[in-house]
Amino acid sequence: MGIRFVLLVNKQGQTRLAQYYEYLTLDERRALEGEIVRKCLARTEHQCSFVEHRNYKVVYRRYASLFFLVGVDNDENELAILEFIHLLVETMDRHFGNVCELDIMFHLEKAHFMLEEMVMNGCIVETNKQNILTPIQLMDKTS
């Protein structure tokens, strides 16, 4: 499975994007987000970017006011996931140009579309930025 969820939260702990690759009920999601956001936000810059939580790990990275959190299985390569987060940010950056929290908020569906191109069934399937963005750009043109 690899990736179990991708979460974007701001530094107040408010969810800005949530994508789960296994089904959780609303309550489960709320509980999980609360727990891990509390855990990750309490950490300092000098600590690892990884947090073990229950039977999986959370790899997180902070960009200005936004935290990107990715929940992965225990045997996943944490450094690679850390770079995957950065790739996602670079991709968003290329599309929005200097991406910020509000861009994602106003274009939530587009942020989701990018993620959909990059991750399927919990696996990283596409890392070529052009391939990720082409469908979204084409869609913008036609609509």
């Binding site: 408010q14 073990e52 390569n77 450094l79 200097n98 569906e109 399927m120 399937v125 930025k129 082409t134």
Partner: protein
């Protein structure tokens, strides 16, 4: 930033996003969302909402759910939107649906049709959107509806479609492997796709397939190696580069696959060495992504057949990680080290200091990872240091999940490597004290058993020393507030058995302590039961020793309180205790012999004493007993049929639902329902027994003790149906208590929570593990057996500095000590204790297969086989069963002494027989046979598994 509002979004939407963004607290955010829900409910239901506007509503619904509120009122509109012709709307609809619904939601069926249509679309973006939705929404039942179209799309000229089609098949494989088993060859084909994206995606399903069955894909090793080589040599288009690293995510996936394929396969591994050392050589350790690839290489090297050169490269890379200042890299380094020491424990030596640094780092993540490494490195020479460290850490954390894990690891390591019994007991005490509620009950029973059995050698002196040190420590610990229930049970049991043994403490002192325990834990019936029985034992020993015991007032008060308890179990114990006080020395001696907890109880399972009763009943017209095999044979036919039906017709309605529940356990029922009139003749002996406390059973077989044997068994069985509280009742009879209790508990687990099949699987997997371990041990012994001698240390030296690194501080020595013939893999051998409750004390001679055969016997299919098994296994026989049973209705009727066993039994027996129970007396099955069967069932409860003996054998060498 300039994007707000520039995309045709309405003011309402902009305001919503702004207000959510500006919310300063969760409460404020909730308020905004709740009012938004109200607005949306109104708006979304309006007629003729413009489509663009509707898209906005749907996105607002996504916000509502994302922020933790229910948006189910709008699901249907999201579903409708998937039908839209506009791509952007359609895709938004699909997105919302995948976010809202799980694949088993009722609305999914409305989308399947749309998906089918979209898969045929000329617009490749529409097809892509549909394929993305397929990956999220198609469940096992709907797979056939889209499968042919998806297979067709595998050959689509557009690479984006091929890629997504591959992933759709991957999803089907994850969801229902059988549904695509005939399409596996497509994955192999797509591996050679011209497009690197399709090839990269194909690695995902292949990885899963190879994980499940590496041997079928050995022919692909060469292909994977050459792909990896091409990627590493930058043959892919530049657009796949990430920070100047060629397609790193594809490289990592390939390395993962190679690790699987090369594991334990010398031939396959040899094909990989070149490319691995190439990657190490080119390795770029200044960027994260470069290190990520290096780490994956280390994982691969440590997984495949070992090769000196690549191991060296891996060790170098690892030491770079460990020496880094970057916490992330050190974390990866610790993990990598844990992998490498499996192959060469000496690697750890040069990193002792780095490991200790990580262990003492304030970062919890790093600390935990280091504990994981230590856990892998533990062996008999360093177990004390490591476990002490772990316990110190365990005491200071609050995270229950992790506390449980580390506690069970402490127990596991202590059981496996304990240098002395004394240390083992002290360690267990600490674990219980601080995490008693989190560890498995089995551990408590093991501890009791260890104290009872001592060293297993004929060294009585050491044994009694062990016991008195245990008693001493428990008397001290009792002063602490808030001890976990399980720990208190152990303490009570030990005090009852051995409290007065060495003569240091007077009986009344111990009794006083036990009364305190019972008083302080008024809400814990189990602890109270343990305490009461312990008091009874102390009294019995005193009486047997000819000493006069005075009744302490608090003890009398306890007895009075318990006699009126709501718990019938506690009541019985109280009455038994009182009755015991009135018996003479001889009776007490046979009822409660001194220190007989390890004696076997023999039971005559043919139950000859019942013959006369059976005969009598038959003469009165009772129906002869139908043998168990006949009964259960019938019920099993049903079950097999219904199972078949399920497998065959996964898609149809299951009419069998109500027939499925487990076959009735061998019906012990009928006799219990005997109306009083019939029982009168037999019940006479019962009265006598009624006032007698449960006697301790000597191995000799007098009727009295046999009765108790029977009672014990019954408890084991009862727990299967009864409330958990009854587990305590086993403690009421002192001898072999722990064993019985455990068995009872296991029994409960086995029947109650696990199907026989699941258990079989569990068992199989365990056996596999054991086999592997033996192999690994051998490998490890031959690999680093030579180095073991230099670091060998006498286990007796507690916490002294070990090994040659004398100048380094204490903990480093454990790193040092790794190099012994005890391979680290060994730690992984014992399965997690929680899963395998089978671990009750077990005579070592027993064939480990038994529990399952017996369980089967209990459930029906092969009772005949299991009978001989169990008789071989657990020698005990129970001659005086009938007396016990006859006592049941009597006590119920008379109400004098409510025998918990009996009452519970009564309740239980209703289950299988239902309404007919009253009449069963006359025409019911032959009581003798059914009792026999019951005895068999009880045997199952008693049957041990073969796990712990090993642990203890390890303990004692």
């Amino acid at each position: 930033m300039g994007s707000q509002g520039g995309w045709g979004q309405s003011k309402e939407f902009l305001d919503l996003v702004k207000s959510i963004g500006e919310a300063r607290s969760k409460a404020e955010e909730d308020r905004i969302v709740l009012s938004e829900i109200e607005t949306l409910k109104r708006r979304i239901a309006e007629p003729d909402v413009p489509r663009r506007r509707m898209k906005e509503y749907i996105i607002r619904l996504v916000y509502v759910e994302m922020l933790g509120h229910d948006a189910s009122f709008g699901y249907i509109h999201a579903v409708k939107m998937t039908h839209d012709d506009s791509l952007s709307l359609k895709r938004t609809g699909y997105l919302a649906v995948t976010l809202f619904l799980n694949e088993d939601h009722d609305l999914i069926i409305l989308i399947v049709n749309t998906i089918q249509k979209d898969l045929r679309s000329d617009n490749y973006l529409v097809v892509c959107a549909a394929l993305t939705a397929v990956c999220r929404l198609i469940n096992e039942e709907t797979i056939p509806a889209v499968l042919p179209q998806i297979v067709e799309l595998l050959g689509h000229p557009k690479e984006a479609i091929r890629k997504k089609a591959v992933m759709a098949l991957h999803r089907f494989y994850q969801r229902a492997p059988g549904s695509v088993s005939h399409l596996i060859s497509n994955f192999r084909k797509r591996l050679c796709d011209n497009d690197p994206g399709v090839m990269g995606a194909t690695l995902c399903p292949l990885f899963d397939l190879i994980t499940a069955d590496p041997s079928s894909y050995k022919d692909l090793v060469m292909s994977f190696v050459s792909i990896l080589k091409q990627v590493a040599e930058k043959r892919l288009p530049k657009s796949y580069d990430y920070h100047q690293m060629p397609a790193p995510f594809i490289q990592i996936k390939l390395l993962k696959i190679l690790a699987l394929l090369g594991s334990g396969d010398k031939q396959a591994s040899e094909q990989m060495y070149t490319i691995l050392s190439d990657i190490f050589r080119k390795g770029e350790s200044t960027s994260n992504i470069g290190n990520a690839i290096l780490y994956q290489c280390i994982c691969c090297v440590s997984s495949i057949y070992p090769n000196t050169k690549s191991l060296e490269a891996a060790a170098d890379a690892t030491s770079k990680f460990l020496k880094s200042d970057n916490h992330n890299l050190r974390y990866m380094g610790i993990d990598a080290l844990g992998r490498l020491i499996k192959i060469n424990p000496e690697i750890a030596e040069e990193h002792q200091l780095a490991v200790i640094d990580c262990l003492e780092d304030p970062d919890d993540t790093l600390k935990r990872k280091t504990f994981e490494l230590l856990y892998k490195m533990t062996k008999s020479t360093n177990v004390e240091v490591i476990v002490d460290r772990m316990i110190d850490y365990m005491i200071n954390i609050n995270d229950h999940h992790y506390k449980t894990e580390i506690a069970s690891r402490c127990v596991e390591l202590a059981e496996q490597y304990a240098p002395s019994n004394h240390w083992f007991i002290q360690t267990m005490n600490k674990v219980f004290e601080h995490a008693g509620d989190l560890v498995n009950v089995r551990v408590a029973h093991n501890l009791m058993r260890l104290i009872a059995e001592g060293f297993g050698e004929d060294d009585e002196g050491a044994d009694s020393q062990l016991r008195s040190s245990a008693v001493e420590s428990y008397l001290r610990i009792l002063g602490e507030p808030k001890l976990p229930s399980v720990f208190l049970q152990v303490i009570c049991w030990v005090l009852g058995e051995y409290g007065t043994m060495d003569g240091k403490c007077s009986a009344s002192y111990i009794i006083g302590k036990l009364c305190d325990v019972a008083e302080a834990h008024a809400n814990d019936d189990t602890v109270k039961a343990y305490a009461t029985t312990a008091i009874m034992k102390i009294f019995a020993y005193e009486i047997a020793a000819g000493r006069k015991v005075e009744m302490l007032p608090e003890c009398q008060a306890l007895i009075d309180e318990l006699s009126a308890s709501h718990s019938t179990d506690l009541q019985q114990r109280a009455y038994e205790l009182q009755a015991l006080m009135g018996l003479d020395v001889h009776a007490v001696e046979s009822v409660m012999p001194l220190d007989a907890s390890c004696e076997d109880i023999e039971v005559d399972r043919s139950l000859p004493f019942l013959s006369s009763f059976v005969q009598q009943s038959l003469e009165k017209g009772a129906r002869p007993y139908i043998s168990e095999s006949e009964q259960s044979g019938m019920s099993h036919v049903n079950i097999f049929r219904s199972q078949d039906l399920h497998e065959v017709s996964g898609h149809t309605l299951r009419f069998e639902a109500y027939q499925l529940p487990k076959p009735a356990p061998p019906a012990s029922a009928p006799i219990a329902f005997a109306p009083p009139t019939d029982l009168v003749p037999v019940s006479d002996p019962t009265y006598a027994r009624d006032i007698q406390p449960p006697p301790k059973v000597p191995s000799s077989l007098d009727a009295l003790s046999a009765d108790v044997g029977v009672r014990l068994r019954l408890e084991g069985v009862q727990k299967k149906w009864g409330k958990p509280t009854y587990s305590s009742s086993a403690a009421s009879s002192s001898s072999s208590t722990s064993q019985k209790t455990v068995n009872g508990a296991t029994h409960l687990d086995g029947v109650g929570s696990m199907s026989a099949q699941a258990r079989d699987n569990l068992y199989d997997s365990r056996r596999q593990q054991v086999e592997v371990s033996a192999e690994k041990q051998k490998l490890a012994a031959s690999l680093f057996g030579a180095s073991s001698s230099k670091n060998e240390k006498k286990p007796s030296s507690h916490k002294t500095i070990k090994g040659s690194a004398g100048n380094v501080e204490k903990p480093t020595t454990m790193v040092k000590a790794v190099t012994s013939s005890e391979p680290t893999e060994k730690t992984s051998v014992p399965p997690p204790p929680d899963l395998l409750d089978l671990g009750e004390p077990a005579p070592e001679t027993k064939p480990s297969v038994d529990p399952f055969q017996q369980l089967e016997g209990l459930l029906g299919p092969a009772p005949v086989q299991s009978t001989p098994d169990s008789s071989v296994v657990a020698g005990p026989r129970e001659p005086d069963l009938m007396a016990l049973y006859s006592d049941i209705p009597m006590t119920n009727l008379s109400g004098t002494s409510t025998n918990p066993t009996a009452t519970n039994f009564y309740a239980v027996s209703k289950n299988p027989q239902g309404a007919t129970n009253v009449s069963t007396l006359k025409k019911g099955p032959n009581p003798q046979d059914s009792l026999e069967k019951d005895a068999l069932a009880r045997q199952v409860g008693v049957t041990p598994s073969g796990k712990n003996p090993n642990l203890f054998r390890d303990l004692f060498g």
